[in-house]
Symmetry: C2
Subunit: 156 residues, 2 copies
């Protein structure tokens, strides 16, 4: 079956993009992964309009990527913080793949703005493609997309 015979939206890339295919959402996830949890801290760091942040967080909560958890500081009213669920946390592979690409193609002479380290050993961490036989897929590695069990054929 040719690739274009498959329904474009019934594809895992399309489904994921329908949730995280938005630059603000990517930045919210990045900050949550970096431990920023409170609305005011997110809004301040991102420089995002508060109503836009509210909408993005609501979408992430609804999609099951983020939990909204109440907290209360002494003498203040109840507020909420936002924590990644396991599903949200697992998007770190996507976010780090984006970081790697930006480091490589958009960092310029100044070099990478950030280094992501493995806490256990201090070595830099990257996203890489590998097959289940253990072969590292380098730049020249050839891949092909085939229909999976949940493939949906395009109508018409």
């Amino acid at each position: 079956m040719d690739w274009t015979e498959l329904e474009s939206r019934s594809c895992s890339v399309a489904r994921t993009a329908s949730i995280v295919g938005d630059a603000w959402t990517v930045l919210v996830l990045r900050d949550l992964l970096n431990g920023v949890r409170r609305f005011d801290d997110l809004a301040g760091h991102l420089g995002i309009a508060r109503n836009v942040l509210t909408r993005r967080l609501a979408t992430l909560v609804e999609a099951g990527l983020v939990d909204k958890v109440p907290y209360r500081e002494p003498g203040r009213r109840e507020r909420h913080e936002y924590r990644l669920t396991q599903a949200g946390f697992e998007l770190r592979t996507v976010i780090i793949a984006m970081a790697d690409w930006g480091d490589r193609h958009l960092a310029g002479q100044a070099g990478p703005p950030m280094r992501i380290e493995h806490q256990d050993c201090g070595a830099a961490v990257h996203a890489e493609l590998r097959c289940e036989e253990g072969h590292l897929i380098g730049e020249r590695g050839r891949l092909r997309a085939l229909p999976g069990p949940g493939a949906v054929r395009r109508a018409g």
Copy 2:
């Protein structure tokens, strides 16, 4: 230095998201990676409005991710096809990380709509996190983000 002391936009994730943080752009890149190159084929498969596709392709060409290459079929006027540059091609790690996540969290009972294979051996390909010491970063692997050489401190 605390993460929030770094300028949000001077981060490789933010820079990458400014180019590909858009659901249609992700789908255009996915189809280009799958060998769909002609405007009409892209428009037909994606079900995207032609003016939207034109804008997305122009942005990708301007960002150096896609080359616009003329071709002419016998007896017809010149047309263009779109080919990923090396930089655009390297986004496949991001796209496959998104596919993996969607397969895991959004595919439901039907199972993954697609299988991405290593042509050499036929084994399924996934994006994974690994450190330069060779440790596979599993779900429990702890990471930390540190400022890199190109870090920009937040003003104010």
